[in-house]
């Protein structure tokens, strides 16, 4: 492929082919399987295999196609099977359901009702993806192509808009490309929210013989998996975004830095680069414009701090992944001391859209200072776990209750944690805040990369703060003493509090240490390390105080601040719990409850580990967990 005309012709034929597949005008029906990590681990490949066997057994290869697509996003309802041209979406499909789908739907043309999504409020079955409430408020920009195209087939990508943005960019002056990105208002999706166009401008203005574009795919925030899904669902878009960035700043080399924990994403990215090299959309003299671009992949090795851009650059350079002082910023002196821009996966995935559809279209949704959409990984105590892409400005309430379907088991919403270990908690009183970069910061949290973990009344906020501090303590690279030592001391204090050994003085010390770590660390990891502590201390101080003064964990999580007892009037002396108890701490009493033939059991507090084994076996719910010590 050497000219714009050739690309146009290819796009035209691929678009026709994909449309024919979706609309069934090619005379075939198509079975799509979710190939995201979540569904793959729920055996979607075995499901695919079984479909292929059935198609072969019925000699229907020329009538039915079977292929994988990227993540549908609605992970808690996976694995998904979609059938074109009817656009029927089956959810939670098991291998054992495949024969039925094949017989009923593929052969018989009937919809298999029990595999359809059922709306929990109306109890009505929904056949099409777009009619499911979870998808209704979403708008797919960064997740473009996910659940539609085969992420390992460049022709399907070409049929779904790939490289049109690149083509448009290559017909413009680099400066105009940057202006377009500036006009779109795109801000970095990795956490900081720095205007992407300005970053590109800095690198554009730096004069050097070589410049680099680096894609930050070191998605380390626990609870965030949007970058993984984008790379797994449409790697072509991210590479295209990187190439546009390269053209804009004058870079001919690009590096993807992806976590080694994401093998499927790496495999598909590698495949996409190979295919793009083969058709000549990557390489030298792209489309005859004289623009050269080569893409490379580097794998992380399990260090969270490498998500920090300067640490990431050190890691690519084969060094310990420790951050560098800034300035000089990477746009001036980055990879191998050359001007470099580091953009997150989701940011780059938005770029082709902006060039293809125009800055105006991108900026048509969002808030004044945060344009476009943002992908969130909605997880924790929420019904609809999955990836959601929503326009900036959507409220937390809409995200949690409408898209997310609310909290399971009728429990009460307590907090939503955004921004991972660098972020904070938002509580019920913040539910009507429109989500954007600045609003979240104003409320003491941050957007971060988009992890959003919902917590209910059963989550202890001191324990959550301890969890994040343990994470940071583990992942601090050790370069700056305040971060290295300060986080350790904070963890010790939090551990003390959760074990009932804390004092009110500890709270003051936590606050003081938070300030020290925040103001004396080189990189964002240290500067934000205390955020979960500060935020929980602000919103849930009463929980800290309950741990310290009442020696009680109100959420009944911290093992040293709860106790187990048996409701002797419920116990029917079945002794299941006795067998389950690993420490033999359940004994028989003399008390025979009214209506019972045998004496009830009770728990010996000193021996009890609070492991929960007895609760899991008791069918009568006779074992009660109480906050506080006995």
């Amino acid at each position: 492929m050497k000219t714009f005309a050739e690309l146009d012709a290819k796009i035209c034929s691929c678009t026709q082919a994909l449309n024919a597949k979706i609309e069934g005008t090619n005379g075939k029906r198509a079975i799509l399987l979710c190939g995201g990590t979540g569904c793959l681990s729920s055996n979607s490949m075995e499901i695919k295999k079984r479909f292929e066997e059935l198609v072969a057994a019925h000699n229907m290869q020329d009538k039915v196609t079977v292929n994988i697509v990227g993540c549908f996003g609605f992970c808690s309802q996976g694995p998904f099977v979609k059938i074109y041209p009817e656009d029927t979406l089956y959810r939670m499909v098991q291998e054992s359901d495949v024969d039925e789908i094949f017989k009923e739907d593929i052969l018989g043309g009937n919809i298999v009702g029990h595999l359809l999504y059922e709306d929990p409020t109306t109890q009505l079955k929904v056949t099409k993806q777009d009619d499911i409430t979870f998808y209704k408020k979403q708008r797919r920009v960064a997740l473009h192509g996910g659940g539609v195209i085969n992420p390992e087939d460049i022709d399907e990508a070409l049929g779904y808009g790939a490289f049109q943005g690149l083509k448009h960019a290559l017909s413009m002056d680099p400066k105009q490309v940057i202006d377009e990105i500036l006009a779109s208002g795109l801000r970095g999706r990795g956490g900081g929210g720095f205007p992407t166009g300005r970053k590109w401008q800095f690198a554009y203005n730096s004069v050097a013989d070589q410049k680099y574009v680096v894609c930050n795919g070191d998605e380390g925030d626990p609870g965030a998996f949007m970058d993984r899904s984008i790379l797994e669902g449409n790697p072509y878009a991210v590479i295209e975004g990187m190439m546009i960035a390269g053209y804009a700043i004058g870079a001919s080399e690009g590096y993807f830095y992806v976590r080694a924990e994401y093998p499927i994403a790496v495999k598909r990215l590698r495949n996409a680069i190979k295919q793009m090299n083969e058709i000549g959309i990557l390489g030298d003299n792209i489309l005859g414009t004289g623009f050269n671009f080569h893409a490379h992949i580097r794998l992380g090795a399990g260090a969270f701090v490498c998500g920090e851009e300067t640490a990431l650059l050190n890691s690519i350079e084969g060094k310990r992944g420790m951050p560098r002082p800034r300035p000089p910023f990477p746009a001036v002196k980055g990879l191998w001391d050359k001007p470099t821009i580091v953009n997150n996966v989701e940011t780059l995935a938005c770029v082709p859209y902006i060039l293809r559809e125009g800055a105006e279209s991108f900026a048509s949704c969002g808030t004044e200072k945060s344009k476009g959409t943002k992908v969130f990984a909605l997880g924790g105590k929420i019904n609809n776990v999955g990836l959601v892409e929503i326009p900036m400005g959507t409220t937390l309430r809409e995200m949690i209750y409408q898209i997310g379907g609310g909290i399971p088991d009728g429990k009460k919403f307590k907090a939503i944690q955004t921004g991972g270990p660098s972020g904070g908690c938002l509580t019920a009183k913040d539910l009507d805040v429109p989500i954007d970069f600045d609003n979240l910061v104003a409320k003491g949290s941050m957007m971060g990369s988009g992890g959003a973990i919902v917590m209910d009344e059963d989550n202890c906020m001191v324990d959550v703060a301890k969890f994040y501090m343990e994470f940071i303590c583990d992942e601090s690279c050790g370069k700056c003493s305040p971060c290295r030592i300060g986080t350790k001391r904070m963890l010790e204090i939090l551990t003390r509090i959760t074990e009932g050994e804390g004092t009110m003085q500890d709270l003051e010390e936590l606050e003081e240490l938070s300030n020290v770590v925040k103001s004396n660390s080189l990189c964002a990891l240290g500067q934000t390390a205390a955020n979960p502590v500060v935020s929980t201390l602000t919103h849930f101080r009463d929980e800290y105080i309950a741990h310290i003064e009442q020696k009680a964990c109100p959420a009944k999580v911290c093992k040293k601040l709860i106790n187990y007892t048996i409701d002797i009037n419920r116990c029917v002396s079945c002794a299941r719990c006795v067998a389950a108890c690993p420490t033999g701490s359940i004994y028989k009493t003399d008390y025979v409850a009214p209506g019972n033939r045998f004496a009830s059991y009770q728990i010996e507090d000193e021996k009890c580990l609070r492991c929960g084994a007895c609760i899991a076996t008791c069918k009568l719910h006779a074992i009660i967990v109480e906050a506080g010590r006995k």
């Binding site: 979540g38 681990s41 992944g321 924790g380 973990i453 690279c477």
Partner: protein
């Protein structure tokens, strides 16, 4: 791998050669060695040093910085318990505790028979199916405490067989 035989040395040199054209190949070389052998002992680091000209101290610094690189051999089955936020709020701590209890080892340790290693993982991005456990790369979704003994038994039954 106390004494590396000739074939081993050859293999390591071969891995280094794969990246001869790269500007800064150390991470890639170490990743490949880790994947090939399961660990990167000092002897191997010395061979890499001789081959690439990077000092042993620098290599050692890199090996010990990243949690994917290991100085000690790992078990045949590496049980990775995700302790990311989504998994944690859904009870991942109890899952890893159960593995520890049954196998008698803590996180980062290997059983004496060399069969199992338990690793505490930071988010593996499988939050949609929390709590998640990986064993040699295979992801187990929505693991419950009661499943843990069965999972271990299944791998014990396979034992040392390939």
């Amino acid at each position: 791998m106390a004494h590396i035989n000739e074939a081993g040395v050859k293999k390591i040199n071969e891995i280094c050669d794969r990246y001869a054209d790269e500007k800064t190949p150390l991470m890639m070389i170490l990743s490949d060695i880790q994947n090939e052998y399961g660990y990167i002992p000092l002897e191997v680091q010395k061979i890499v040093s001789e081959k690439t000209g990077i000092s042993v101290s620098e290599i050692y610094g890199v090996v010990t910085f990243y949690s994917f690189f290991s100085l000690e051999p790992k078990g045949k089955y590496v049980i990775g318990c995700c302790l990311g936020t989504a998994c944690y709020v859904k009870g991942a701590q109890q899952i890893i505790d159960k593995f520890s209890e049954i196998l008698g080892i803590g996180a980062g340790q290997t059983t004496e028979d060399g069969l199992f290693t338990i690793d505490a993982l930071r988010c593996i991005g499988a939050c949609g199916i929390a709590p998640a456990v990986t064993i040699n790369g295979k992801v187990y979704p929505k693991v419950s405490v009661t499943q843990v003994p069965k999972i271990i038994e299944q791998y014990r039954a396979m034992g040392g067989a390939e």
